[in-house]
Symmetry: C2
Subunit: 719 residues, 2 copies
Amino acid sequence: MRFTHFIFLATSLLLPMKSYSQDIPLTLEDLIPGGKTYYKYRAEMPRQLTWYGENLVYAKGDSLMIAPYTDKEKPKVLLTLADINNSIQIDQSQKPGSLNRVQFVSPQSHLLRIVSGGSIYLYDMVTKTVKAEYKSLEKAENRDWAEGTDYMAYTKDNNLYIQDGKGKEIAVTNESNKGVVSGQTVHRNEFGIDKGTFWSPQGDLLAFYKMDETMVTDYPLVDISARVARLKDIKYPMAGMKSHHVTIGIYNPVTNNTVFLNTGTPKEKYLTNVTWSPDGKSVYIAELNRGQDTCVLKSYNAASGKLEATLFTETHKKYVEPEHGAIFLKSDPSKFLWFSKRDGFNHLYLYDVSGKLIRQITSGSWDVLSVLGFDEKGENLFYLSAEASPIEKHIYKLDLKTGKKIQLSKEEGMHSAMLSASGRYISDVYNSQYNAGKAAITDTKTNKTHIFHSAKDPFRNTKLPEITLGSIKTDDGKTDLYYRLVKPLNFDPNKKYPVVVYVYGGPHSQMVNNSWMAQTRGWEIYMAEKGYIAFSLDNRGTSNRGFDFENITHRQLGVVETKDQMSGVAYLKSLPYVDADRIGVHGWSFGGFMTMNLMLRHSDVFKVGVAGGPVTDWKYYEIMYGERYMDSPQENPEGYKETSMVNRASDLKGRLLIIHGDEDPTVVMQHSLQFIKSAIGKGTHPDFFVYPGHGHNMIGRDRVHLHEHITRYFDDFLK
Amino acid sequence: MRFTHFIFLATSLLLPMKSYSQDIPLTLEDLIPGGKTYYKYRAEMPRQLTWYGENLVYAKGDSLMIAPYTDKEKPKVLLTLADINNSIQIDQSQKPGSLNRVQFVSPQSHLLRIVSGGSIYLYDMVTKTVKAEYKSLEKAENRDWAEGTDYMAYTKDNNLYIQDGKGKEIAVTNESNKGVVSGQTVHRNEFGIDKGTFWSPQGDLLAFYKMDETMVTDYPLVDISARVARLKDIKYPMAGMKSHHVTIGIYNPVTNNTVFLNTGTPKEKYLTNVTWSPDGKSVYIAELNRGQDTCVLKSYNAASGKLEATLFTETHKKYVEPEHGAIFLKSDPSKFLWFSKRDGFNHLYLYDVSGKLIRQITSGSWDVLSVLGFDEKGENLFYLSAEASPIEKHIYKLDLKTGKKIQLSKEEGMHSAMLSASGRYISDVYNSQYNAGKAAITDTKTNKTHIFHSAKDPFRNTKLPEITLGSIKTDDGKTDLYYRLVKPLNFDPNKKYPVVVYVYGGPHSQMVNNSWMAQTRGWEIYMAEKGYIAFSLDNRGTSNRGFDFENITHRQLGVVETKDQMSGVAYLKSLPYVDADRIGVHGWSFGGFMTMNLMLRHSDVFKVGVAGGPVTDWKYYEIMYGERYMDSPQENPEGYKETSMVNRASDLKGRLLIIHGDEDPTVVMQHSLQFIKSAIGKGTHPDFFVYPGHGHNMIGRDRVHLHEHITRYFDDFLK
């Protein structure tokens, strides 16, 4: 399961002469998700935004609205909840009470999904009829709809089922051993995997993951909420230990037969980026060896399961991490685009289905972030990249024939986008440090953009601390590192302030960028209100800066990251208003690990730290993520030793509060307990707090408590 | 499993003009068991003291010494380790390297047990021969030797075995179901039960407990010391839930047959105080109902298992707690003594084997604490009681015919005693507040006592804080409550000092008494050195003060106890040198529960608390102890609600640190976690610390760390 860490937005915008009528100071209830008044400080953006044909649709109250294309138009009502409820032929009690229960099926379809209790109805907006009905879904998880047919796949417990729109359940698998799981995500959500079922483009065949984890050790979690605590075993494969075995089945609902792809041995490998060929006859798999240094793209015959072709092999002495499947050209399904970091940045390469490289499509010292699709005739490719700035994300149009590239997104910031049914229009939703959020439509023929929604600054009545984005250099002077600095409210340059460094620093993250309020977390605002400076820096190892920037941490997680954070600290110390004797640090997950690195490797610098859900020794972490970045403990004993916080427990000098959820299935609480055990043996004194019943992150109301608790610790020992 | 709490000795004795050459201040290493220099501050007393015939024997270096009876004699050498090793006919490698491996079998016997690795030898001191040998005992637990024969019983896993001195193992039970346990203690060590095997006086029959706990819920403990945490299920029956079923088998080694006593139904009851009749033909059982308000003494035929007699029934509207078996008269085995609290104090009653009460033997407003035995002819009974003072323990001789009673122990303090083989002599080992320890022999004919050892004050070179013993009245003015007050080192009556109250307060405890240094714990000395006042008080509910003093807490544990502790606080506040704004409290187990009662019921009084291994809600505690004092949750819902700290989490105002061992099998860590979960929900902020791998108490080196940790918390928030 991939590390997740909460990044929550809040804001700056310290305009002179602004008058603030209320909301000072903001509380944790205002600033932390789960807080009672948190909703008041979120920018208002169109809800349920989606394309319906060439119409960009969103929900507003009980109406589905069509966004205008030009200044001259107004939003139009497509349909209301009442329209649906008046015409839909289902039992009164099943009719949706809100548009939250209504989903568009796809831009190409006239169908809406109406979710009502354990049933789902497919409602045709044009004919105003119910086209299909799915029943008894109360326990159904991982619901996945086919396009082109009415099939829906879903899982219950460890088995996979389908319904065909007549409400009858058909079992695809019938496995009594709970250690064999079908239709769910595998490989702990690494390699871009976030689901376990894949309908063919025609919707007539269902590819699905089958994971045998019977050979993986049971890991005992304990749920103390019952009167007598209850065991909740999970399968948790640790680095260097036995991993699960994954295969891919192709189920044919007509014949009720399943064929398994002949992926062979070794059984311990990663079957990633399952992709159907456009004709629905082949399945492409990026197969990665357990060592994660060799990725082979293969295609299999969906009918026979036989290997059709081994297209190409990609290796890297550190690691290969395929995260995107083949993207077949709209204009020529015998060619596809492939993401690769082989030249040091994430770029697109054009291949034919024989595996022959035709040419590199994008290049430069920047990463392509994702592909949106093609225009009507497939002549132009649309994608998002970090080309304009490593801390921004923009929309590009690339002429596949000429190579001519146009930046479609005009304003600065972080853009996200979706294509209309035909590919002619692009929705553009974006924000930046001083822009709380805008929504626009871009016509890819004219490249013109019409903004149809601009969110008001939710903090317009609030005096906020000043937020600065900036960059420093790594210690070798070669690389830019971006930071965010939040000054205390009512900042006085002649005073000396304590600092809290908020750190994450792990792969697949970027905390500092030009998004709304520079992605400042609510807690940073809160600390700034209380008189702390909040500082964050994205060290090497993080995202959107190219592969070499990321993989420098290989086999030594935390070492270079810590060096870079110390460059940030050196910068802080150069500021006349920073009190160098009162520097603290806080982070969660990988950021908890980083907090401990900083507290233990630089025990004279950091006075106080709060490490949440920290990795303390990579040998307790899971195989996929762990072995990618650290190799196995057998292959890299020095690296594991060097990066073990458990081994450094004797170096603790300052005050370190460790926090863990006792049911954390991602970074198991054993990490914290092992560190504490080591510290007890060495005679040092970390502090500890536990959130019973919580997993890797504290969510809901308890998240407010968490931040009160963290804040109190800094107030106790750093203020 | 009975609550255990560590009470460790240290000292006072602030004599004027004493010159101190060293050892100031004492460290936790000096004062806490497990500390590197703790041994330096223990009074030196005779090791392995035991009677051998009429000789009181002890180990000194490599010699077994005989203590002198008079001033004129000197200690004599009985035997040396070399004597044993030179004459014993066993393999060189098996010979003991120290007298720690040598044990006397009984005062009546010439035999020594020589423990060597997995073997034990019975060595005859007179004939200098090895009389028996027991082998392959590496995994043998609960070893129990017969008298009169060479049989030894022991358990491995859940089964019971014997050996007859020829080294051959015979299985008494052969049970594959791990939930059925034979030969071990049952009923979680309540009711005076501390073992599971009972040899007949002739050593030819073995009574043993068989406990079926298959119906008791598994409770999941997790051992995180392994690379992949490991589940360690225990059977933990919680109040009001299903309890285990106990039966008693009588095994005959000659026939290899087992007969079970016909104890019948209901199966959920307590079979306590297993006692053989002197002729080895009957077994007496004090059978207590699950409700613990009715105790029936029954005798069973050891050969047939049939009920022979129902001697008498004792009931009490609160509870009956039998803790001593029948004590048959030496002079007349048809009569026996029986302990009962029926008149409000623990006294001895004489019965005949038909169950007829002959007469009450002792009476008065004081408790008999234990019976030592009889003199040579069985005319005089020896026992320990609290008659002289509720905070002292003395040895008494009672003429069974005339009722004439003599106090044999002369000096004040806490005496412990053993009878010689004949019963003529009594060893008397005692200490008191200003006496670090003396060892003496009393001739029960002349009632004269010869002190043969006086320990030096181990703190003679150390300046110690002043310790005062005293008493106050309960709030109704009727009852004395004893307290101990330790003043800060270099006490200045004109200053105001912070206070830490150390509390236990649960049944079966007495923290304040006239023992060495008044039982002041090392940590209290340490805190006094740091400038705190340390205060402890034995509230109602504790021991040695009679049954009514104890059982006033019934169905409402913590309520009266807290009231009494607040009487102590009122007294503290009356002292001019107490800073009433800086009162803290610390306790463990029941004392952790009390700490939370004080912090939450009197949140304006206590600023800081440290609760170790606390019960936070009696519904998570076990059946035997829990239902005795609280009845079941079904019977006493208001009581459980009133005494639940979990329900009071919102009342937390001060700083409360909760500490728990994550493998605590007595008060499971769920108690702390449930409180924390409740506090999180209510928005209050306890602190927490965990000792990984520890049970109900932190032992060994980690105990020093624990007290550093506790101290730091008071230094952080109370100093």
